[in-house]
């Protein structure tokens, strides 16, 4: 609510940079036109500078509180269906995957996800564990999705796109809030929160519980991928002076869930984070920020124990098998794997904002990643890495019509140093229409997992029974070259906004897995190295119409054509496979919401995805999913109350990632009571 992107252009708003008047020459005590007309808050995920959408060097989708309230979403990932080009899917019911345009495999790795600027990309899987995030839908103020590479601001993990989830300020709410949801799939969600103050510290704390039973069993497949998660979160705000603010976020979560591929096994995940951000605003409009955080994910997997003789029983008779049978029986998969993923990160940022036609942000950061998993790395100790980064983004308003953006980042880790950059020109065609041309060259370094992964099933230290996957010691960074033409228009007194993006993305040296002959019981191992090249081109658009406070229509469409080759097998002969079907050609979404004057909200969300072959997943048919929601708000004894009824997938079953994950119709009822 408080955040609102400035869409209604007036001459005053179209050149807000011009309103920033240096007060140095005039004395700090004088109020100038710049003081009166300066912008309050805008989108800043693209460059870390506050920018209006027509100034930004990339396409951005904003999911604001109005859209969140309107949507039939039950969890955070459901909201991302409103973003063109973004693929959301469920590898398991509680293991969602999100990617942009391509490479939507079990652990999508090329999308940076942040919560209030804290990266939640986990080193252990080089992916995002959405279930453990601890972000409740009610906590979200808005989500900024940068559609396109965003390395100059967010680092190399933002290889294809980046998502920043901005949670609500502790100042917005007060008192107790109780929420609950229950329904199909045995969804049982509840949360209790309190917002208040202790001395000069304003805070909100939430205890939440979420559980579901996951996908139903499918034919002969037993699917046990339910989850039960308890989360405790705290967000505090202290403003020692008008120019300084300090935000602190702390969280703990404990999850038990079913994971795996087509099979399922239990996982216990304990997650915690500590996040601190200090902002200092100078009299000339400049800003200094210091951000530091720590994430720790501890995992225990409980796969089905496997005995040596039991494993050998599945193999055909051979001299090798006969020889192995001479060894005594023992457990080769002991049924309990421990893992740990930890990240420390600190960044100092300077935002230069005092000139009218030139603004800049620069930052330096350092990061320490540590992962530990005997299962994933075939070693008892930890694998760690220190990385350093320095970046700068500049925005130059060349004249009334042209805004130029440039961004560059240099990153250094234990093995290499590399840089990425972006340049963009925004041309104001008319007062309410902007054309953007942008070019990106980005690199993404192999993650700790990608450069160190070694999965063996051993009999003992000296005998490898089966090599599953190892990383090529020469694995190196991936490369992205992308260019785009973007268009933004605002019509009907800014009630209608349109965003169009035509893009071309070339990914080279993409890290994937190739098969190679290996001296083990199945004679094969997967080698992780730079084995694929992908070319992507297409177009996507989003449009939003809000003629008044009662009516909302949000539509999006994406067409993606991808091609390229992956080295599927390198020995004994080289075999390539095509990437052609690994992206859905078309995805589309439509959200319609109408709120009556007596606060009854009726909404429908329709999503379409064309047929595709999920990388590491199944070939799935196209589907159309329809979600419906009715919610009524009212006030009773000074308490704000909402009751809701949601239908997810109000039609035929469709399948998620694997041909066994049938998403059936779910009915969910919910309530939300705010006690002042």
């Amino acid at each position: 609510m408080v955040f609102k992107i400035i869409k209604k252009n007036t001459p005053l708003l179209l050149c807000p940079a011009a309103l920033v008047i240096s007060s140095a020459a005039l004395g700090d005590s004088m109020v100038t036109e710049g003081d009166l007309l300066a912008d309050i808050q805008r989108v800043n995920s693209v460059t870390h500078m506050d920018q209006t959408l027509p100034e930004a060097p990339a396409s951005v989708t904003i999911i604001d509180r109005r859209m969140i309230d309107a949507s039939p979403a039950v969890d955070v990932v459901d909201l991302l269906r409103m973003v063109p080009g973004l693929q959301t899917y469920f590898v398991k019911a509680n293991r969602p995957g999100v990617t942009y345009h391509a490479l939507g495999n079990r652990y999508p790795r090329r999308l940076e996800v942040k919560v209030d600027g804290r990266s939640v990309y986990e080193s252990a899987f080089s992916s995002v564990e959405w279930t453990t995030l601890g972000v409740d839908l009610a906590d979200i103020d808005h989500i900024e999705v940068v559609r396109g590479a965003n390395a100059p601001a967010d680092g190399s993990n933002a290889f294809l796109a980046s998502i920043n989830i901005i949670t609500r300020s502790p100042l917005i709410d007060s008192g107790w809030n109780l929420q609950g949801k229950a329904g199909g799939n045995h969804i049982r969600n509840g949360s209790l929160s309190y917002a208040g103050s202790a001395g000069e510290l304003n805070y909100r704390t939430r205890l939440s519980y979420q559980s579901n039973e996951g996908f139903d069993d499918f034919k002969d497949f037993t699917i046990d991928d339910g989850a039960e998660t308890v989360t405790l979160s705290f967000k505090g705000l202290w403003t020692p002076s008008a120019s300084d603010s300090l935000e602190i976020a702390l969280g703990l979560s404990d999850s038990d869930m079913g994971v795996g591929e087509r099979d399922s096994f239990p996982r216990k995940a304990d997650y915690q984070y500590q996040h601190l951000q200090w902002d200092h605003l100078t009299g000339k409009g400049n800003k200094y920020q210091f951000i530091a955080y720590h994430n720790l994910l501890e995992l225990v997997d409980y796969p089905q124990p496997l005995g040596f003789y039991e494993a050998l029983a599945g193999l055909p008779d051979s001299p090798q098998k006969t020889a192995l049978l001479q060894l005594p029986d023992k457990l080769i998969i002991d049924g309990e794997n421990h893992g740990q993923s930890e990240r420390w990160d600190a960044e100092f940022r300077t935002i230069f904002n005092q000139w009218d036609d030139f603004r800049a942000v620069s930052g330096i950061g350092l990061r320490y990643d540590r992962v530990e998993s005997e299962d994933l790395f075939d070693r008892l100790g930890a694998v760690s890495e220190r990385s350093y980064r320095a970046y700068a983004n500049v925005e130059w308003t060349a004249n009334d019509r042209i805004v130029l953006n440039g961004g560059v980042i240099g990153e250094h880790d234990d093995t290499e140093t590399f840089g990425s950059y972006r340049i963009a020109s925004n041309f104001k065609l008319t007062d309410n229409q902007t054309l953007r041309l942008a070019f990106n060259r980005g690199y993404r370094a192999p993650t700790l997992l990608e450069s160190n992964q070694t999965i063996y099933i051993r009999y003992d230290e000296n005998l490898i029974l089966d090599g599953s996957i190892i990383s090529d010691p020469d694995i190196s960074r991936e490369k992205l070259t992308s260019s785009e033409i973007g268009y933004m228009g605002s019509f009907a007194q800014a009630n209608l906004s349109i965003d169009l993006r035509i893009f071309r993305e070339q990914l080279r040296d993409v890290i994937d897995e190739r098969r190679e002959q290996y001296d083990d019981i199945d004679g094969q191992i997967n080698i992780r190295d730079n084995s694929a090249s992908i070319d992507i081109e297409g177009a996507e658009w989003q449009a939003q119409y809000r003629p008044n406070n009662n009516f909302l229509v949000n539509a999006n469409y994406s067409y993606v054509k991808s091609g390229g080759l992956q080295v599927w097998r390198s020995t004994p002969f080289v075999e390539y496979r095509d990437h052609k079907r690994h992206t859905p050609g078309s995805t589309a979404g439509l959200l319609i919401d109408y709120v009556t004057d007596d606060r009854l909200s009726l909404s429908a969300m329709v999503n379409y995805q064309s047929a595709m072959k999920h990388p590491q997943g199944a070939i799935l048919e196209k589907y159309t999913r329809i979600d419906l929601k009715a919610a009524k708000k009212f006030n009773l004894n000074n308490s704000d109350i909402e009751i809701s009824f949601t239908v997810q997938n109000a039609g035929e079953d469709y399948f998620e990632f694997y041909e066994i994950n049938a998403f059936k119709t779910r009915y969910v009822i919910g309530f939300d009571i705010g006690f002042p």
Binding site: M1, Q41, S169
Partner: protein, 334 residues
């Protein structure tokens, strides 16, 4: 006889000369009147007023204002006025080459540059706050009165506080307590603000924010105990540093905010009353048309204003708003 003959000859000669003179004069008069439109159409006619716009920066808000002023003067712009626009750093050389009859400064920096040189021509400062104009006139002319005597005028950007408080009362007639935030640059006018609130039949609840204060700690009790809240524009640091907290606290305590800019409105205020570029251009054009040759200058409040509402905030606060024209008519009735 001789006398008569001489007289006739003399008369005839005089008549002849007079007739010739009349013909010559008539010709001169005819030529004169014929020449007027021709001469007046030439660019160097001394009857054409030369207006120099001095802008603070080469940026849209300033250049758009100059264009809108000229557009507001309709057809007169070409016939009566000659306009030139330049940025403040070129003022000295442009003043010499263009020799303007009248100078319009746009923005505080342009005003300071021009006032520093104390030009002989009348000066009108626009897109300037009341605070900036007062400070500059005192700095370069000694006092407002002396600046007015030197034919320096201003059209102030900030709205009269009474207008904001009256709008607040119109939007929320049942309101009893009006919270007002002032800062280092506006605290000397605290008594004026308090009086304006009282005049509107409201109880003033004024909070003064200093830069070293904890803004949330100070603002929250005031916002919480108010029925409506009005931040008074102050320095950029105070405005930006407090706006976010004001809006969030107003959301928490369901207290509507009457803001002074469109950006504040878009960020979450219920209503905003402000002078748009179009409003300022209209008043500037009228000033040039009607008061160009006044003997003394003066400071003029913003005569025209824009009112905008944030319907989603209104809905959230359960406030039913009339249309904009209703509030405009009520405010203009004063």
């Amino acid at each position: 006889m001789l006398y008569l003959a001489v007289s006739k000859m003399l008369y005839a000669a005089i008549l002849s000369k007079f007739q010739c003179l009349i013909k010559t004069q008539a010709l001169v008069i005819v030529v004169f009147f014929l020449a007027i439109p021709i001469v007046s159409a030439t660019p160097n006619d001394t009857k054409q007023s030369r207006v120099l716009f001095v802008i603070s920066k080469q940026a849209a808000v300033y250049t758009d204002l100059t264009k809108l002023v000229q557009r507001n003067l309709h057809g007169q712009a070409e016939a009566v006025y000659q306009f030139v626009t330049d940025i403040e750093k070129n003022f000295a050389s442009r003043n010499l080459s263009f020799k303007p009859d009248f100078i319009v400064t746009i923005g505080a920096i342009a005003s300071e540059t021009v006032m520093k040189s104390k030009p002989v021509q009348p000066v009108l400062s626009v897109l300037i706050t009341d605070s900036a104009f007062n400070l500059l006139t005192k700095k370069y002319y000694g006092s407002n009165a002396q600046a007015y005597a030197a034919r320096v005028s201003a059209i102030c950007l900030d709205q009269p506080f009474q207008r904001s408080i009256k709008l607040a009362k119109l939007i929320l007639p049942e309101a009893k307590i009006a919270g007002v935030m002032i800062g280092p640059s506006s605290k000397q006018r605290q008594d004026d603000f308090s009086q304006s609130v009282t005049d509107a039949s409201l109880i003033p609840n004024i909070v003064n924010i200093e830069l070293e204060d904890n803004p949330i700690h100070i603002l929250e009790p005031i916002i919480k105990s108010s029925d409506i809240f009005i931040p008074v524009p102050d320095s950029r640091l105070v405005n930006i540093a407090t706006a976010k907290w004001i809006l969030e606290l107003s959301y928490r305590h369901k207290v509507p905010v009457i803001a002074y800019s469109k950006t504040y409105l878009d960020a979450g205020a219920l209503a905003a009353i402000y002078s748009s570029v179009e409003n300022i251009a209209q008043q500037t054009a009228e000033f040039i048309r009607n008061e160009l040759n006044d003997d003394t200058g003066g400071s003029h409040a913003a005569a025209y204003f824009s009112i905008r509402f944030n319907s989603s905030v209104a809905s959230n606060l359960n406030i039913v708003l009339e249309n904009e024209q209703f509030y405009r008519a009520a405010l203009e009735a004063d």
